[in-house]
């Protein structure tokens, strides 16, 4: 692991009217790691996620990606630089087939359609969706839609992949496939940040976890450190369970 973090979130605040969704958040994402972004509902995980991907700008603070200030760059520009994301509620292109969905992402790296199609076929193979290549995206099952989200993001050949609750709602066996996919993505040299609130899935998978609560970073460390942290237990389970 190189010393220079791939992404630095510096003092980021985001307000929606009177609501402060993120407040003075500082996070460093290390090259090549899987970082879990966890926290109870309403902790500001999704907001931080959207801010990193460039869906909307922060009220204050900066984002440094590979040494470059990307705070004012649009979402497509960030994608060109190597940041890709999935959506919590899958946003597939439903009038297109599965492979066409993936080809859209491929054009960031391949100007020609033939090259984009070939890259898409390889990505589908990687994400175990080859057999569905010519199906309309609207006909995929929910777990397949999640894999399509990941495949489409991978087609942009990211260096940082943001996964927004890709495991939520999956059965244990589907989740195992998902975990396997995330590990293989990391093995390709892609840094992964994942938002998840199914703790049993995230904790064994991630190298480090950042816990958000009420828009602030509550704790940070290895999964083992984080789950023992009394503040984290309180945030998740309430004051009463702290003694246990």
């Amino acid at each position: 692991m190189s010393a220079e973090p791939i992404l630095k979130v510096e003092n980021v605040t985001r307000r929606f009217g009177g609501l402060v969704a993120n407040s003075g958040v500082n996070v460093e994402v290390r090259q090549g790691e899987i970082l879990g972004l966890i926290g109870p509902n309403g902790a500001g995980k999704s907001t931080l996620f959207n801010l990193i991907a460039g869906a909307f700008p922060p009220s204050e603070g900066k984002f440094i990606f590979e040494g470059k200030d990307i705070t004012n760059l649009s979402a497509p520009r960030r994608c060109q630089l190597g940041i890709a994301r999935t959506f919590q509620v899958p946003k597939s292109f439903d009038t297109m087939t599965v492979i066409e969905n993936v080809i859209v992402g491929g054009f960031v790296r391949h100007p020609g359609a033939a090259a984009a199609r070939r890259a898409a076929l390889e990505v589908l193979d990687f994400a175990a969706l080859s057999h569905r290549a010519n199906s309309p995206a609207s006909e995929l099952t929910p777990p397949e839609k999640r894999r399509l989200e990941v495949a489409r993001a991978l087609a942009t050949q990211p260096r940082l992949l943001l996964l927004d609750e890709v495991m939520t709602g999956l059965t244990p066996s589907e989740a195992r496939l998902g975990v396997d996919l995330v590990k293989r993505v990391r093995d390709q040299g892609v840094t992964v940040v994942m938002v998840e609130h199914v703790m049993e899935i995230v904790m064994p998978l991630v190298d480090r976890a950042v816990v958000l609560d009420l828009g602030r970073v509550l704790a940070e460390g290895t999964p083992a450190e984080v789950v023992r942290d009394p503040r984290v237990i309180t945030a998740y389970l309430g004051e009463r369970h702290r003694a246990a």
Partner: protein, 339 residues
């Protein structure tokens, strides 16, 4: 993600896709050849006229489909670009003796630039709001031309009579050259669509239509994609307007810029299959003959009858096959490909 050895499935998929594309082109070639032979069998001048208008509206709707069908930006103001093409060609030819061939390209370029200028504010609007803006802008254009003396105002401009020839696009005695021009224009717009469909713009437009937010996250520059679609669409719409001006040899604001034209460009695509390669042609082949024939049978007073028939057709399609007539065939084609 680049592996040294491509799996066989990848190659098989690529080959299947390439042959599907080739077959589409061959079938299109056969259809174009069949249509080109039609004047041999249709000798009635009135029916020839119907054929010419059908091909022209197929080409126009094909152009509209680039922005409305592929990119999902429903314009109901394309009469504006049609009018720009018609007026640019007419004014350049009648007042300055410039060849209509050049005037046509000049009109196309003006339309494309106008589409970019109008797209700048309008593409910040979404869905119905965008459509309403296009209607209003086209109506403003119509009013401007009405009161613009240089463009002939409400009286319009008459093309001078001259000998039949291709240089001035004047064929007073025999309408068949117009038929081939209209067919040529349709083939060009079809080919443009065919090639763009399998290009970066083609994929990006469809992504923008389906989900702009997801598209942006995948590196699609949403605004630029809409602007490109608008410019290409406006360019070919203006070429159609230029053709129409030469064909009728007399234009006034109502005859080339009325709202009716905007509808006649959008409806064939909607009826046949929006965002599909053949939808506009299928829609035009149904709608335009109905329009022309009811107009001639019902006479001048019954000009509303064709609109009643469109309305009914659109309602039937919207209820039974919301994706257009072509979607009836698509299902079987898809399940075939899946094997």
């Amino acid at each position: 993600m680049t592996s040294a050895v491509l799996p066989n499935s990848v190659l098989a998929n690529e080959n299947a896709f390439a042959s599907r594309r080739r077959n589409q082109l061959i079938i299109a070639g056969l259809i174009f050849a069949a249509v080109a032979a039609l004047p041999r069998f249709v000798t009635d001048v009135y029916m020839q006229n119907v054929l010419i208008l059908t091909l022209m509206f197929a080409a126009l709707s094909q152009s509209w489909n680039i922005l409305g069908g592929y990119c999902g930006q429903i314009s109901l103001g394309h009469a504006l670009y049609f009018g720009v093409g018609a007026y640019a060609t007419t004014v350049l030819f009648v007042k300055y003796g410039v060849s209509p061939w050049f005037g046509m390209l000049a009109g196309g370029a003006m339309s494309a630039v106008l589409a970019l200028a109008l797209g700048w504010p309008c593409f910040r609007l979404k869905g119905h709001y965008f459509s309403i803006a296009t209607i209003v802008i086209a109506e403003i254009g119509l009013l401007l031309v009405h009161n613009w003396d240089y463009l002939g105002g409400a009286l319009g401009i008459q093309w001078p009579f001259g000998p039949d020839n291709w240089a001035t696009l004047q064929f007073a005695r025999d309408k068949i050259p117009y038929f081939y021009f209209a067919l040529g224009l349709f083939i060009v717009t079809w080919l443009v669509t065919y090639f763009i469909e399998e290009s970066r713009w083609g994929y990006w437009w469809r992504a923008v239509k389906d989900n702009p937010e997801a598209a942006a996250s995948l590196g699609v520059t949403v605004f630029e994609s809409k602007m490109a679609a608008a410019a290409i669409s406006a360019f070919f719409t203006a070429i159609g307007g230029a053709f129409y001006a030469a064909f009728v040899a007399y234009i006034d604001p109502e005859s080339v810029m009325a709202f009716r034209f905007s509808l006649l460009m959008a409806l064939p695509a909607v009826l046949g299959g929006i965002g599909t390669l053949w939808g506009p042609a299928v829609g035009a082949a149904i709608l335009i003959p109905i329009t022309e024939i009811t107009r001639s049978y019902a006479g001048g007073g019954g000009s509303g009858l064709d609109l009643i028939i469109y309305g009914t057709l659109i309602m039937v399609v919207a209820l039974a096959k919301p994706e257009g007539i072509l979607s009836i065939f698509r299902r079987s084609a898809k399940s075939e490909n899946a094997s």
